[in-house]
């Protein structure tokens, strides 16, 4: 089974990278956002392949809405969202290429250099994973979980304030 997993990992890993690349290679904003979605789904599938079912499904579910919402903002704020003008999406090309190469080298280096330990052969099934995850949230990571709540609240208030401020200033 390991070999099947490996093949799938490679396929969907490459798919994730390819879609990630497509994000920048299209001049249509919506297509760009949905390419990112496709890339994220591929990553979600990678989770599934590695048998982290909850994470995989969650990733696929959340990205579906979030990338669509990103699409609306990209469309609202970018010129020519349809890309009919064949406008270039990239700016500062040289710097970007340099940054990309450096980061890639660094990540690949880190991946190769790190000690990943032995490959786990025994791990709980999906249901047990969900249960353990729940236990983790409610026991050991409770503070983190509650902190996340407050963080989300802060984010919510901040985003609403920013979003509505333009409007309110117009109305006043």
């Amino acid at each position: 089974m390991i070999s099947v997993q490996l093949i799938l990992l490679i396929i969907f890993g490459l798919a994730a990278i390819w879609f990630g690349w497509r994000v920048f290679m299209t001049s249509s904003m919506v297509r760009s956002a949905l390419s990112l979605l496709a890339s994220m789904v591929a990553i979600g599938i990678l989770f599934l392949v590695m048998e982290a079912e909850f994470l995989g499904v969650l990733q696929i579910m959340m990205m579906g809405t979030e990338m669509s919402i990103m699409a609306i903002f990209m469309m609202m704020y970018m010129m020519d969202p349809g890309g009919l003008g064949q406008m270039d999406m990239y700016h500062q090309k040289n710097i970007s290429i340099a940054a990309g190469v450096i980061v890639t080298v660094f990540i690949v280096g880190a991946a190769l250099a790190a000690d990943w330990g032995t490959i786990a052969t025994q791990f709980p099934g999906p249901h047990e994973q969900n249960r353990l995850l729940g236990m983790e949230i409610l026991k050991r990571s409770m503070m983190i979980f509650e902190t996340a709540g407050v963080t989300i609240l802060t984010g919510m208030i901040a985003s609403i304030t920013v979003a509505l401020s333009i409007k309110n200033s117009v109305e006043k």
Partner: protein, 300 residues
């Protein structure tokens, strides 16, 4: 039942169910029952030309119908039709339903964008608005069923209703899920993305031939899927006296599907702003109340 037999049964029920839903839909549209009508409609679209609009987004234009029908088929494959008769019993089934159904919206959005016409585009973005409206109540309603079953296996959720169906155990959750299911399937009164009197067909207005066929077929399958989901989550799934499990599922499903079509007949199309507003102002608090109520009852 052997896996082969149950697979056969499921396929049969599915195909038959879709056809039956097609008859129901037609009946709700024209007012009279016609058993050959859906087949003729199918052939009409089959014989039709394929028109691609100018400057359409090729990738979306080709993938949207496939995505649409694909996610629906994946969803139905994880729903149990009877004890042991489930193609794939996923450990996170309850979450998976939600995840897959999100992509219905994505497919609509893609189709709306792909055509490059204003009617379709308005429809596509309306689909996203609709999802933003109904998504929270759906998730929270699903969570409450999971709480009772202590598992995300859909079979476990059905089993948990042995003593009392969820429709009685958590009626608020049922109502929220039922209404949201209508919105997910963009059936009237939630047919905003494809509104006839407003957008002349909206998202799928400019699709012809095979693509339209796939969307139409997909929507029928979607109605069936959601009906099964309602049955599994709230109506005790295959449970019932005397008859075999899958017959119960089938009967309950058809009843729910028929009610889906009936609702739209008596309510005018909901307004886009009302949909969002009501869901967030009343739907979300109600869903939270539902969780709280189930939580308290479970601990008693």
């Amino acid at each position: 039942m052997t896996p082969f037999l149950s697979g056969f049964m499921i396929t049969l029920l599915f195909v038959g169910g879709v056809y039956f839903v097609a008859v129901l839909e037609r009946c709700s549209m024209t007012g009279n029952v016609s058993w050959s009508g859906p087949a003729r409609s199918f052939l009409l679209l089959f014989a039709q030309e394929e028109i691609k609009t100018r400057k359409h987004d090729k990738v979306f234009f080709e993938t949207a119908p496939i995505l649409f029908i694909g996610v629906i088929l994946l969803t139905i494959s994880i729903l149990p039709f009877s004890r042991g008769s489930v193609v794939i019993d996923l450990g996170t089934g309850a979450l998976f339903i939600n995840a897959a159904l999100v992509y219905i919206m994505v497919a609509l959005l893609m189709a709306g964008w792909a055509v490059n016409g204003v009617y379709a585009m308005v429809g596509g973005w309306r689909a996203l608005a609709q999802l933003i409206a109904y998504s929270m109540p759906v998730v929270m309603a699903l969570t409450a069923t999971v709480m009772r079953a202590e598992s995300m296996f859909l079979t476990d959720i059905v089993e948990s209703q042995q003593s009392l169906w969820n429709i009685l155990y958590q009626p608020v959750g049922f109502i929220l899920f039922y209404i949201s299911a209508l919105a997910i399937a963009f059936l009237p009164p939630f047919d905003l993305p494809v509104a006839e009197g407003e957008l002349a067909g909206g998202v799928w207005a400019d699709l012809t031939g095979a693509r339209k066929l796939l969307f139409r077929l997909g929507r029928l399958a979607l109605v069936l899927t959601l009906s099964v989901a309602v049955v599994v989550l709230y109506l005790g799934g295959w449970m019932g006296p005397w008859l075999p499990g899958f017959v119960w599922t089938f009967l309950k499903t058809l009843l729910v599907a028929a009610s889906f079509f009936a609702v739209g007949h008596f309510i005018p199309r909901i307004r886009h702003d009302h949909l969002l507003e009501y869901n967030w102002k009343y739907g979300v608090p109600l869903a939270l109340y539902n969780i709280f109520q189930v939580g308290v009852v479970l601990l008693l």
